[in-house]
């Protein structure tokens, strides 16, 4: 069970409850394909088709890249935890960093009509996922929770 300390604005997970799938990686971009491989299987378990799976892969890649680039200032030796749970048709991924929590209101995309490199990550994450939540975790960093529900097949 995940609890939120409203007063401190922190989210923490009951340590007695294991996430279904968890892994820890260092913040090196070379591990992005590995993250996608795990996420892809999770999305398929949740019942997503190719298109839905690809959307999740895009969102997760963007989110992890943001952690590396912004939370860790491109340091490649920092810790990122991933906690995946699948309760079909719901896919949920927590991306946990140990950097300094940033107020989500300060995380914004560039206007799409400004054609310039960069600034698209947050827009892509919010466009492709059903729910995007940034919360301060008990390590002082950020837990980003991404949730997407696979559409039901009509019978």
């Amino acid at each position: 069970m995940t609890t939120t300390d409203s007063a401190r604005g922190e989210v923490s997970r009951d340590d007695s409850e294991l996430p279904e799938v968890s892994c820890t990686l260092t913040s090196h971009p070379k591990y992005l394909p590995l993250v996608r491989a795990i996420v892809q299987e999770g999305a398929l378990l949740a019942g997503f088709d190719h298109e839905g799976t690809h959307e999740i892969l895009l969102a997760v890649t963007e989110a992890v890249a943001n952690v590396i680039r912004h939370a860790y200032n491109s340091q490649t030796d920092q810790r990122i935890d991933f906690e995946l749970s699948v309760d079909a048709p719901v896919f949920r991924l927590d991306i946990i960093d140990y950097a300094t929590f940033v107020d989500p209101s300060l995380i914004a995309s560039r206007p799409l009509d400004e054609i310039r490199p960069g600034g698209l990550g947050v827009h892509l994450i919010k466009t492709t996922m059903d729910s995007v939540e940034y919360q301060k975790n008990r390590h002082g960093g950020t837990t980003l929770t991404l949730v997407k529900t696979a559409p039901s097949l009509s019978t």
């Binding site: 298109e51 963007e62 490199p117």
Partner: protein, 109 residues
Amino acid sequence: MKVTQEVRGSATLFVVEGQVDMHTSPELRTHLRDALGAEASPLVVDLSSVGFIDSSGLATLIEALQAVGKYGGKLRLCGLAPDVRKLFDLAQLSTIFDLRDSQDDAMAD
């Protein structure tokens, strides 16, 4: 990711294979930068073997588009798979880039 480059007539063709993300997009940028430095035109980037591209890949292509525009050159992208095309649509870049269905189309004058 793998990038192969060849010159055909006046065109410089880059065939990109694999996944383009934060880890691999710098390599693509390096390839493009060399051709941009020589003011080559048109530049054709064949993405038909790219199964995944993220915003860092888009950033690389936007940089190239802006650079080629400075010397009046042309940049064409071809062979976008539906997933890749969707990313361009989400980023509202489909009308900004010259997107072609095939390499032949992109290489034609």
